[in-house]
Symmetry: C2
Subunit: 308 residues, 2 copies
C-alpha cells in the first residue's frame, strides 16, 4: 500500500518526542515537511507556516497539528479547506464549538478529521475495554496524580485558562475512562482547587454517575510527591479491574494480565492511516466536554499560590 505524505505542523516538545519517532517508524506515513515559524527538524524540509507548506507541497495528503491549542482551529480549518486530512493533538481545540465547526467542514470537504486521544492507545486499554463490555460495574475510581514540577517544569502556560492546569493530564484519564466504560457518565458534583495566583486548577475532584447511578469518582492532583499515580480501578461483580501506569499495566483481582512498554503514538498513527483509507473521521468530544462541564459547574476553592 502506498505511503501517505504527511506534514508536521508545530515542531515543539510533543512533535519531537512523540510524533517524529512514530512517523519515522511508520509503514503508513512518510514525513515530507514541517511547518513552524521558529523550529526545524534535521533532514526534514521546513516551512515558516502551514500556508507556506500547503503552497509548496501540493503532494501532501495529510497534516498532524501539534501547535499550542489556541492556534489549532485556524490551522485545521486551512488544511481542511485545502482538502488535506487532519490529525489534531489532544485536546482537539480550545473550545468545543470550534471543534464542532471542524467536524462539519471535514464532512463537507470529504476529508478525515482525527481527534487523537493518545492515552487511548496505551497497551492495556483495549483489553480493559473488552473485559468490561459485558460486566456489571458497581464503582469506578480514577486516580491521576503527578508532581507538576517534575512533569511540566517551567510551563507557565499550563496555569493560564487554556492550559487547563491539572486537566492537562486529567483529560488523558477521562479519554481512557470514556473509552473503557460501557456507558456514558455525567458530572454530579465537582470541586476545583485553584492557586490564588493562577487561573487553572492544581487539583480537581469530580463525582460522576452513569445512567444506572454507578458512582465514578476522579481525583486529579498536581501536588503528588514522588512517583506519579495514573490508575483507574473498576469494581465489577465479576472482579476488580485495575488499569495502572497510564494504561501500560492491567490487573484483575491483583493478578497481572498485561505489563507492556508505553507505545501510544505508533498505534495512534496506524489508526489515522486506517481512517484515511476508510474515508472516515473520528472526533470524540467526550473528554473535552467533561472538562468543560466541570468548569461550568464546579465549586472553586482558592488554595495557596503556586511557586515553582
Amino acid at each position: 500500500m502506498q505511503n501517505i505524505d504527511i506534514g508536521l505542523v508545530g515542531v515543539g516538545k510533543i512533535g519531537r518526542d512523540q510524533h517524529l519517532p512514530a512517523l519515522i517508524d511508520s509503514r503508513d506515513f512518510q514525513l515530507v515537511a514541517s511547518a513552524d515559524p521558529s523550529a526545524r527538524l534535521d533532514g526534514v524540509p521546513g516551512y515558516d507556516s502551514l500556508a507556506a507548506l500547503l503552497d509548496a507541497r501540493p503532494e501532501l495528503t495529510a497534516v498532524a497539528i501539534c501547535t499550542p491549542t489556541s492556534l489549532r482551529y485556524a490551522q485545521a480549518r486551512l488544511a481542511l479547506e485545502h482538502g488535506r486530512h487532519v490529525l489534531l493533538e489532544k485536546p482537539p481545540g480550545a473550545t468545543l464549538s470550534e471543534v464542532e465547526d471542524l467536524i462539519e467542514l471535514a464532512e463537507r470537504q470529504g476529508c478525515t478529521l482525527f481527534a487523537a486521544w493518545h492515552s487511548r492507545f496505551a497497551p492495556a486499554v483495549a483489553q480493559a475495554r473488552d473485559w468490561l463490555s459485558d460486566k456489571t460495574i458497581t464503582r469506578v475510581e480514577i486516580d491521576w496524580r503527578e508532581d507538576v514540577r517534575v512533569w511540566h517544569p517551567g510551563q507557565a502556560w499550563i496555569w493560564e485558562p487554556a492550559g487547563m492546569g491539572v486537566f492537562d493530564p486529567g483529560i488523558n484519564a477521562l479519554s481512557i475512562a470514556t473509552e473503557i466504560l460501557p456507558r456514558a457518565f455525567f458530572l454530579r458534583d465537582a470541586r476545583l482547587w485553584v492557586p490564588s495566583d493562577c487561573q487553572a486548577p492544581i487539583a480537581a475532584r469530580l463525582d460522576f454517575r452513569d445512567a444506572l447511578a454507578t458512582p465514578i469518582v476522579a481525583d486529579f492532583d498536581f501536588r503528588q510527591p514522588g512517583p506519579p499515580i495514573w490508575s483507574i480501578h473498576v469494581e465489577a461483580e465479576a472482579g476488580r479491574l485495575s488499569l495502572l501506569q497510564g494504561g501500560c499495566r492491567l490487573e484483575l483481582d491483583g493478578q497481572c494480565l498485561l505489563d507492556a512498554e508505553e507505545r501510544e503514538y505508533p498505534g495512534l498513527y496506524a489508526r489515522f492511516a486506517e481512517l484515511i483509507r476508510q474515508g472516515r473521521s473520528d472526533v470524540d468530544l467526550a473528554p473535552l466536554r467533561h472538562v468543560a462541564d466541570a468548569c461550568l459547574s464546579a465549586w472553586r476553592e482558592p488554595t495557596e499560590p503556586f511557586i515553582e
Copy 2:
C-alpha cells in the same frame, strides 16, 4: 386535530408565570396534571413526583420540565423511558454530557425531545434571521445588561456554579445570536468578573469570531442601573440591524420595522406540538456550549462582594 395531554413538572415561578398561561391558551395541548413535591396549581390534579404522575396518568403523552436545572436529567430520562415526549426549559441540563445522553435516549425511544430556548420565540427574531441570512456581516455587538436585584431578587442559587450568574440571562442572548447569525462562531477570548463571595460571574465579556473572522462581542452585566438593555446590533454592508428589548423590537438603520409585545411561550408550545406531530426532536446545544466554552477558557477576575 386532537389535543396532546401534557403534564407540567415543577410548579415554580416560570411554570406559573409562563407555562401555565401558554398551556391554557394552547390549541395543541391540554394540561392534565402537574408534579411537584410542594406546590399545586388551582384546578389541576397534582402529584408529588414525576414517577407518581406517570403511574397515575397513562394517557399523558408529553411532559414539560421546568424544575431546577440539576433535577432535569433524571426526570427527563424517566419520562423518555416511559415513552413520553419531553420539553426542557432552558438551559436543557446542568452539563452538556447529560443532554447528549438524553438526545440518544429520545432517539432510541422514538420520542420528541425539545430543548426550548424561549428567547428564540420573541416576536422579531424570525424576521431578523431572515434579513441576515444573505447579508455580509462586518461586526456584531451583543449587550445584555440588567439589575440583578430587580430581576432576580433573593435568588441566592444564581450565585452557585450551576446558577451560572450573569449567564442565566446571557444564555438568552446567545440563544438568539446563534439563531439569527448565518454562521457559527467561536470564542477567542473571555473575561469573567466574579464577586469574591460568589461562585458565578456578575459580568462577562466574550470575544467571538466566526470562520470569516467577523468580530462578535458580547457584554453581559448584572450591575446595570435603571432599565435593562437586551440588544443585539449587527453591522452589515446592507445596513445596521438592531434587535432590541430582548427581541420584541426590530430596527434597520434606526427605522422601526416591528415592535410587538413579548409572547414567547405560545410560540414555543406551538413548536413543541409541531415537533411531536412530525416525530422529530430539536436540541440545539450551541448556547449552553458557548457558556461551557467560556467557563473553560475565560480569565476570571475577582470583584467586590455581592450584597443584595
